[in-house]
Symmetry: C3
Subunit: 441 residues, 3 copies
Amino acid sequence: RQQHRFHSPKACRLENLRAQEAARRIDAEAGCTEIWDQNNEEFQCAGVNMVRHTIRPRGLLLPGFTNAPKLIFVVQGTGIRGVAMPGCPETYQTDLRRSQSAGSFRDEHQKIRQFREGDLLVVPAGVSHWMYNRGQSDLILIVFVDTRNVANQIDPFARKFYLAGRPEMMERGAREAEGRSRSVSTGEKSGNMFSGFADEFLEEAFQVDSGLVRRLKGEDDERDRIVLVDEDFDVLMPERDDQERSRGRYIESESENGFEETVCTLRLKHNIGRSEHADVFNPRGGRISTANFHNLPFLRQVRLSAERGVLYSNAMSAPHYTVNAHTLAYATRGSARVQVVDNFGQSVFDGEVREGQVLMIPQNFVVMTRASDRGFEWIAFKTNDNAITNLLAGRVSQMRLLPVGVLSNMYRISREEAQRLKYGQPEMRVFSPGRSQGRRE
Amino acid sequence: RQQHRFHSPKACRLENLRAQEAARRIDAEAGCTEIWDQNNEEFQCAGVNMVRHTIRPRGLLLPGFTNAPKLIFVVQGTGIRGVAMPGCPETYQTDLRRSQSAGSFRDEHQKIRQFREGDLLVVPAGVSHWMYNRGQSDLILIVFVDTRNVANQIDPFARKFYLAGRPEMMERGAREAEGRSRSVSTGEKSGNMFSGFADEFLEEAFQVDSGLVRRLKGEDDERDRIVLVDEDFDVLMPERDDQERSRGRYIESESENGFEETVCTLRLKHNIGRSEHADVFNPRGGRISTANFHNLPFLRQVRLSAERGVLYSNAMSAPHYTVNAHTLAYATRGSARVQVVDNFGQSVFDGEVREGQVLMIPQNFVVMTRASDRGFEWIAFKTNDNAITNLLAGRVSQMRLLPVGVLSNMYRISREEAQRLKYGQPEMRVFSPGRSQGRRE
Amino acid sequence: RQQHRFHSPKACRLENLRAQEAARRIDAEAGCTEIWDQNNEEFQCAGVNMVRHTIRPRGLLLPGFTNAPKLIFVVQGTGIRGVAMPGCPETYQTDLRRSQSAGSFRDEHQKIRQFREGDLLVVPAGVSHWMYNRGQSDLILIVFVDTRNVANQIDPFARKFYLAGRPEMMERGAREAEGRSRSVSTGEKSGNMFSGFADEFLEEAFQVDSGLVRRLKGEDDERDRIVLVDEDFDVLMPERDDQERSRGRYIESESENGFEETVCTLRLKHNIGRSEHADVFNPRGGRISTANFHNLPFLRQVRLSAERGVLYSNAMSAPHYTVNAHTLAYATRGSARVQVVDNFGQSVFDGEVREGQVLMIPQNFVVMTRASDRGFEWIAFKTNDNAITNLLAGRVSQMRLLPVGVLSNMYRISREEAQRLKYGQPEMRVFSPGRSQGRRE
């Protein structure tokens, strides 16, 4: 099934890739947000960017939507979130009997979705979502933003629209390109979507007074995009996993029509952190788990997938290329030596990638990775909901496909040497360490 | 279902939108054509343009095809048209017994399609169509041209190829960009598609003499693209609606294979002008009618939809944004105050939009509208066959989805204030006027 | 069914098309490769290019993959090829009993696919393939590369990644745009994909010694991309057509799951060279054969189609335009006078196209062709898996669709003249010669 994605309108400069650190950091009341530089050559070429949120306990990332779809990997922590899927009414109810205020109230709201470490979460373009750290430790999220995705109809820049607060602006490139006549520098607080409307319009639309409208507009709000919630917050959230139905405090109402049962109960997450889920497992080498449209069908809507990898000490990832997607990889732990080669046979990257760094590997470019002594773990996002990886060495590889006659003539080697090339490496995707260099016949 | 559409290759400047009037006007024998300036920033960004035809009674818009799909809204008038759907042979017949010439002749031709005020008509890319004003008053058509549609494989400019006549050139941008070596100014008459071929080629292809070839090429034709038909015209057209079958003058032949029955009988129009069809109706506020792929399946082929709106005196359209499409709105009557806000919370438009003006509202940008005393009516074209509108206030809104705990912390308000924000506005999409500003607790 | 394809991000200059010869030629050990200039205006606009391989007997085009899909027309010759379809294991076996080396060996490899003159072959993006000339005469292949295809996620340049050898670089444009800091000129040998990796990485990955790694990297390999195979080659290839199953030397193993039976047995070729297959046949005019998704379903994956045409001496191809695709036509024999007209009615091409030349005809542009005394044969590649051709004259034409009333008023002609325009030409797509100019009434 063909994917549709925009390539760069002009030639990409891909002869000199770099492992990138986050470029900017914005502190908020209950956490911080770091963003990579979307103007670097390879991110621009692929039309992608990365963001890292660190949310402290009881921290709430304010709701907002972006004009491009996102995948979020939960590096650490647990929490809950709400995703405003279109057409899905507030069919969930929470009784607020236990709050400290007098009386009780049944609040109706969207489905509250739980998540934990190792989960891959999907956020479609134009759909609002918020996230809350319900745990005791920091919640660390890696957010992959697919700007060149077909869902984005504007331009190759991500724009996040907040429903509340006054978050500091992150996206510099678009504003500079916009050439706003008023001189504006990054670091200036922007408003939220209500800030730009006339007060009387908002008073009439919401049927509230001007004091509440000022609150809506975030006047004097210095907390930025991650806020510390008040004491009442937890008692206002459902206790149990929203997957469970019970006669207790949390009641799911009947959906009103078949359509809601389809879209509104769609699964928007898949765990790829746990070793039991690995698609590839080598007890001496490591493991790889994939989330694609096969095991997370909603990925079809955003045309993205992800791969979580773990390489043990000195293990090697087989040389391979991705047929139909770019790869944006974030190192979550350890370090590795990585080599990437282009169509001219030139090395375009040869160096270390370590925890906290991001590397973009273009479609069809060939890559090999060898973990350091400490091992290496990563999350790689791919611009296709079914990314196809072609291996060049090993038990399932391009070499095995080729007849020995073709191999002999490709490399001017004997048939025996051709067989060695085909069958020498018995392992498949992850190679265990400890095989010495060069095995002589 | 994902839509596919190109975004702008470079950053869009969208901080200063404007309500646009038509920029150029070309007079023809039986009407005139006005075109908006496709080079203005926001139209370029979205890759769209608008054209308005005014066709006088007995006026015929010459057949032609464009390299981009179009939606046509019939603001006023009635008429007939022909659309040359590929693979659909001339299976309609009209007996020309009543013509003034001697003898009779059975003419075989395409299906003749009727239309009237309030109809939304679809014209796929590369497909030829003509239109005729059969009524007593002027026929006024608003044509939305979707240049950045995936059906257009050339460049972000609309090119209309005429089968006859010598219409004055409208599209200046493409020609300038083409940098024709001969100095050519807009206003010069271009030919039709036969003009550029050698006479002997055309004589041989059509098996006609050179005199008829000169007619084909439109030599000395000063009528431009809307011509006044001769007296015989009406008797050569079928009397009854082509939907009706009868033994009379108009006979529909049997289709030859199943395929023709599918494509060739496809409905290419949907009425959204009449109040009975409204999807949203507020007896004190107004109404909105939508044509999308649900009620006009052929829209799937062009990936477009439209919304016809009517706001009564001082009524308000709920603050909302479109998740997955740009909007190009044309005001057909009255006026309104409109505010549009971007992702930085900045107002990018705050002013009046009145009859005859066009406003582009980018994907995800938030918009509010309040009709003036005179009321406000519009036709809005959207770049998605199923445009999703997310409302921010009212009975079905993003506010209702959010738990009161989240709302309280978003805006630093009490739970009671959060409930007021959620439930204060009981109306849904169109808000009736007359509720005074600010309702104090 | 809508196609998805990128149009040019900026205006195309299409007022002056040219019939193009190959621009560069690279000689190899057993053949040569000629490439057209992808930087010429019209190829850039459409995002396409053409390559011609001439492979001598016993010549092997080294395996490699490109970031864009390709269609290959076999102008002359026969051969075999391998296509590394993803997910298709090496389920074919060849017993190497008859080789001159001692002992026997059962080699497992991909399906070996045969092809012959007149075949249209498909190569998906990112999928490796090799080709071998098994015949006595030269193998001549025309390769159409669809750079602006949605499968290409990088930029509007084709990049071919070779698995072996050190082929001279062909694609100048991308390298210049990349602005490599080392001064590099076209003509420099590039490596293959293994050249850029560290030796020890490759030794470990393949479990081979450094000598074999040097062979892998193509050190001292001056043969370029088409190599002359050694004597043993033929005995290492299966004898019979891989479609046949037999108890002899060539055994197809059972596929392991249903999926392999679907993708891995897909037909990737269709013959359009033989006259028995023609979709259009005029015994005095010529014939046209089409390969599209109807008769070669795999074309759906690459969204391309092709048309093979033969015009006899002085025959004419009806004036027509393609609704939904660009056309890149290569003349395989003879010559013709061709005229192409744009939307302004201007002639953008009026000249001879002869054997070996390529002409790009943009979507919607109108074209007429008349063969010279020698006749004219071509292969035309189209950027849509179901290219729709609308004819302007003849038995199935736009003229026939129009009612005589509309025609009379379009051209200011009588009803009789309108009927002549509609019915004068009884032939359909290919017009036989010999009808004199102008037939007077």
